[in-house]
Amino acid sequence: MSKASSRYRLGVDIGGTFTDMLMMDEESGQMITLKVPSNRQNPEDSIILGLSQLAERFGIGAKDIVYFSHGTTLGVNTLLERDGADVGLITTRGFRDILEMRRLRLSKANDLFVPRPRALVPRRRVVEVEERLAHDGEVLIALQRDEVIAAARQLLDEGVKSIAVCFLHSYRHDAHEAQAKAWIHEAFPELYVITSSELWPQQREYERCLVSVINGYIGERMRNYFDTLQVKAAAAGMTTRVFSTKSNGGVMGLEAAGERPVETLLSGPASGVIGAGFIGQVIGDDKLITLDMGGTSVDMAVIDGEVPYSNENTVGDFPVLLPAVDVSAIGAGGGSVAWLDAEGVLKVGPRSAGARPGPACYSRGGTEPTVTDAYAALGIMSPDGILGGEMKLDIDKARTALATLGDRLGLTPEQTADAILQVATANIYAELVPQLARRGIDAADFSLLAYGAAGPTHVFMLARELNMRRTIVPPTPGTLCALGCLVADLRADFVRSLWLESSELTDELLTRTYEGLRREAEGWLSAQGVEVTRTYLIQSADICYNGQSFELNVVFPDEPLSVAGLERWFHDRYEQLYGFADRANPIRVLEARVQIVGVTGKPDFTNFRPFATISDKPVSERRVYEHGKEVTAKICQRSTLTPGTEFFGPAVIEQYDTTVYIPEGFRVTVDAWHNLIGELLK
């Protein structure tokens, strides 16, 4: 490694078990990956630990880093584990139960014992005040200062750390919310108060209210964490600013992140898709099905030219209204436990052994056979495990665990393992295919790109079932989220609910609405104080036919805004998707949306060299069980594979952050950027 200078970009993804780091040398295009254990109590400590390892092992100091962006699961874990701060809620008289009523629907079907949902703010900390606006902003009942102050005082007496204010129709008419906030601020200057309209002014009171409540619930912990991280990173010698990833696949400065931590909830999965999209861009393939398989989860997304967004996302049982990269959870990952039901039928998951006790072969006390144990017993994963031998596997423990099932099935441990992988593959298939249908795409037109610790191990088995024309395993699949952090742009979304029929709209109103959103967006970008190479806006609207409830997000072409144009764009898009459009039917414009993107400087990838060293370790062989028979698989080190190399399965590619398994029937080539490109042989 050459001498360090200020030219390194660092992406960090803090996961539940590991903190993944990806360091890129802007000059040489060389990349270094590193996984360090995550510290659940103090997530920033794992970053500091990683920095010291980078210095020790590669001679790169924190001061040499020019760009640092990271994502953390702190927010989402705080929410899922119900471990956040006490928030108080002030709302419109008659709507105290806005959080209790939810949208009624329960998460699980056919379950008489489905857990009773618990609101994030208990009823005792929700106070109604007399006030009411009509949908058009008319004041039906005026807001009273005394009542607002009394409500805030009551909540303070209950011990709340922050207050959310959510009144009906504030998405368009925020006067009452803003007034209430000002009065509370005046009376209790120390108290953190946030209104639903300032965070995300979209129609739908429950979801909007929830956004502001979650922001308060996870806010204190997130701000403390960001503060500590900045202090410790500075102490470690880092001089560059710190960025946080967002659910929308972009990044923001820590100041913005501290104000709006709710925007980070889904940033982990989003970063992975951004990383996948980046790989696609480099290799010129923009039609990708992404498969992220880790120890406890399997996620998928579809990139069809663009990274996809969804406005209907959930975290646990909570809907999250903010736009996020459209990622679907489709399974339980390598830790999924295999078991037999009372009829002796083999099942895999949904229960996961998680990180603790983990798969039996991890020697952390797990005794139940998992998918990872099946990889180990079949010879797919080396006893040396991954992470350069730091994470060894005990094959005997895997076999013992498998034998407990195998004895009952009348199968050997290897046959049992083989069966587990087939069932696991069928599980993922059954979850993935309907998701493709939901997005209206045909797998035949797409490539399958795998990442996560177990994605590359399993992806070819799935590719065979899906009949994929092309399977891609990027150079550092175990740290693709960190790559996503590193290449993400500054990105923010803004919304205004219109809910107007086209006849009620005027060109002037449209222009004014989008002007307002644009100013807000540009204000946000300049507040980030970051030099960007290019800025662009994506303007769109959610539109439906009047009287129908299916809405489409229509992205505007680069033309002047007009009502007639909007109608035409909607009909065109509708026809494109459904094959027909009723052009005589009036339309209704629901949400006006603007996304601003500040493109950050990207490293030059012409010299892209994912591996620090090309090891000269020779190619070896190992016995691997496949579909009931023993075969001889080639074992290669990923770092020895030079562009242009071609080989056939069965083969195992070992690398620092994962193991790639290529069964019989696939040809794999190594492309110019060190991606493995697999093709199913007919």
């Binding site: 009523m101 008489l112 014992f113 208990p122 083989d418």
Partner: protein, 666 residues
């Protein structure tokens, strides 16, 4: 490698993928509110014999495993060809596959090299299929002909060619022809998806494996169901409940069940259930074993016991049904069916009640029993056109469960229902102002596990001629029962102009006209409590009081929990109060129906109901309906007059009624 124990799971998953993909394809291309908001559609795969071998557990209507498709298939038996698509909505021609005319079914045979392998099957609830009212369904309809156009099973496509004349005839008889055709196209897209995917599956595993797999997954589910059922102590368990048909002038309609558990099977004998009625409450089950609208309760129980259970018609094979012809749940031809949901839900309650006698700790206390959708229609005073919108689904709380409190504000059985944001409603219908939408405090039954609270909606109209309709309102008279010492929940109420001088308690509504400024307030039922309220941890009661789910008065009266002045637990006072209550109270009840229903039982013992059913059972349909009602009215008057009546008197009373001039009947 398709060894049974492994191949079963793999094939089962692949079948599941096909139905989920069908459901997604259908959902994505359908465009009506029923599909999007109430998920009233379905997609399944059906064996050549007519058994559902794969059904979605996630999308659409989730109870389709017991859909009897045999008669619909038999109707076309002679002439099934590749490329055909069949269509029907007729309950009578399909032996109860369709249960009201709004559910329109489309299905397609799937062939492999000339051999019929299976059927792909879909349905959608259409917004309108004609008939006397817009939307086709009114509780007050008295016969099927009022509820829309009937399509007996026939071909929409013949070997790939659309029958345009037939299509046109159907659509022109409905008020929403374009939308209906749009939904039909969505079904057709889903059927094509299934055909392609079954083909892929055969390509991957071979036709024999797939064909045998269909039988095997069905047998597997049956084996699982039988094993779970076999854990229930054998015996006969009886339970009955009442549909409140007073709103359509039919009094209380009894649903009566004797559930016999034997040899891994449930035998459900519904003898003693009320005759069919001249209202849209009839459920055309044709007494089919395992019929989906009868067995919701048991299927939910099976899936709760065993979440990974295979989900197909094998589950319902051990569920045998006997229902006398001419009853509410097995009516003779021509009855009105539109609002059969109330009846189906009551059957579910009755089965849960009977099963709870056998395995008390595996079932919840009774839920609110009301799955109603509140609709508003307003005239446009300029054009005279009518605007229609959903105000809210109005459901009540779930019953307390042996493991957790009941869910507040909704029922576990109707888990898919979604409410409407107030902001959206007021934007769409500016004439309506929602004044209150939330939980109904202190309405859940008390118990070790509290019943879920009901909800309240209060709104005001600013438009003249505001018409409110609501079907399936229930439990305004008999509250949801408590169990194992838990107390009953609360009944529903409807108040017009509450708190004003003109306040009126108007009970269940069918159609209600409101005037400018009128306010309507509906309180839905709280679920029954489960287990002894005195054994609920005192602190949990205090928390409920602090959060307002339970009032301080109820905490003291029913839970024996006393709060100190600052709201915290007064442990000593609570201990003393609870000790006193334990010493003085009656034994805990297995079911607590509440005083109103207890009084009704005292007046109308089971033997009397049974005698009336038995006496009228063999009369011709119209006479049976008439004399059944007349007997209740006659006996009611006798009791009021202080005369003694016993079950044995019923045949003589009937004979007297029949010999009397018709004018005197009733």
């Amino acid at each position: 490698m398709m060894d049974d124990k492994i191949g079963l799971e793999i094939l089962g998953n692949r079948f599941q993928a096909i139905v989920d993909e069908m459901a997604q394809a259908l959902f994505r291309t359908a465009h009506t509110v029923f599909i999007k908001e109430t998920q009233d559609y379905g997609a399944v795969l059906v064996s050549p014999k007519g058994e559902v071998f794969a059904a979605s557990r996630r999308y659409g209507v989730l109870m389709m495993v017991g859909m009897p498709m045999d008669d619909a298939i038999r109707a076309m038996r002679e002439d099934i060809r590749e490329g055909d698509i069949f269509m029907t909505n007729d309950p009578e021609a399909t032996g109860g596959m369709c249960t009201h005319l709004n559910d329109v079914y489309l299905w397609k045979p799937i062939f492999h090299e000339g051999r019929l392998l299976c059927f792909a099957w879909t349905f959608v609830h259409m917004s309108d299929v004609g008939g006397r009212v817009s939307g086709s369904i009114a509780p007050s309809s008295t016969e099927l002909m009022q509820e829309g156009i009937r399509i007996p099973p026939q071909k929409l496509f013949r070997e790939g060619v659309l029958d345009e004349m037939f299509l046109k005839t159907f659509l022109v008889n409905t008020r929403t022809g374009d939308q209906n055709w749009g939904d039909m196209k969505a079904c057709i897209a889903a059927l094509s998806t299934a055909e392609r995917r079954v083909g892929d599956l055969i390509g991957r595993f071979g036709v024999e494996t797939v064909s045998n797999g269909i039988d095997k997954v069905l047998d597997y589910a049956e084996t699982q169901a039988r094993r779970v059922i076999a854990t229930v102590p054998e015996g006969t368990y009886r339970f009955s409940d009442f549909i409140e048909a007073d709103m359509v002038g039919q009094g209380m309609l009894r649903v009566n069940l004797a559930l016999t558990v034997k040899g891994g099977e449930f035998h459900m004998d519904f003898s003693g259930t009320a005759p069919q009625v001249r209202a849209a409450l009839n459920l055309p089950s044709f007494s089919k074993d395992g019929h989906w609208m009868l067995i919701t309760g048991v299927v939910n129980w099976l899936c709760t016991r065993e979440p990974s259970i295979a989900y197909n018609a094998g589950l319902v094979r051990p569920m045998k049904v006997h229902i006398p012809k001419g009853t509410l749940i097995n009516p003779e031809a021509g009855a009105a069916y539109g609002a059969r949901y109330s009846t189906s839900h009551k059957v579910c309650d009755v089965i849960i009640g009977a099963l709870a006698k056998a395995v008390p700790d595996q079932l919840p206390a009774t839920d609110s029993g009301q799955g109603s959708i509140l609709l508003v229609a307003l005239p446009d005073m300029e054009t005279g056109a009518t605007k229609v919108s959903v105000i809210q689904p109005i459901v009540g709380g779930s019953g307390g469960r042996p493991v957790d409190d009941g869910v507040d504000g909704t029922m576990v059985i109707l888990n898919f229902l979604k409410n409407v944001p107030t902001e959206l409603l007021e934007r769409e219908m500016p004439e309506i102002l929602i004044r209150h939408y939330g939980l109904r405090e202190d309405s859940g039954g008390a118990g070790r596990y509290r019943g879920g609270t009901g909800s309240i909606i209060e709104f005001q109209t600013f438009a003249p001629y505001t018409t409110i309709t609501s079907r399936n309102m229930e439990r305004y008279i008999f509250p949801p029962a408590g169990r194992q010492g838990g107390t009953p929940g609360t009944t529903g109420y409807t108040l017009l102009n509450p708190g004003s001088k003109g306040e009126k308690d108007i009970g269940k509504i069918d159609i209600l006209e409101m005037d400018v400024g009128d306010i309507l307030r509906i309180g839905t039922q709280g679920g029954g409590g489960y287990g002894d309220p005195l054994s609920r941890p005192a602190q949990a009661v205090i928390e409920d009081v602090l959060d307002g789910y339970v009032s301080p008065r109820t905490a003291e009266a029913l839970y024996g929990v006393v709060a100190a002045a600052d709201g915290s637990l007064d442990a000593a006072a609570t201990e003393a109060l609870r000790a006193g209550k334990r010493a003085s109270r009656d034994p805990l009840k297995e079911f607590d129906f509440g005083p109103v229903r207890d009084a009704y039982h005292a007046r109308w013992p089971d033997a009397m109901h049974d005698a009336i059913s038995e006496a009228t059972q063999d009369l011709p349909r119209l006479q049976r309906q008439m004399y059944y009602r007349a007997l209740y009215d006659r006996i009611d008057r006798m009791i009021d007059a202080g005369e003694s009546v016993i079950a044995a008197d019923v045949p003589a009373l009937l004979a007297a009624l029949r010999s009397a001039p018709r004018r005197a009947a009733g």
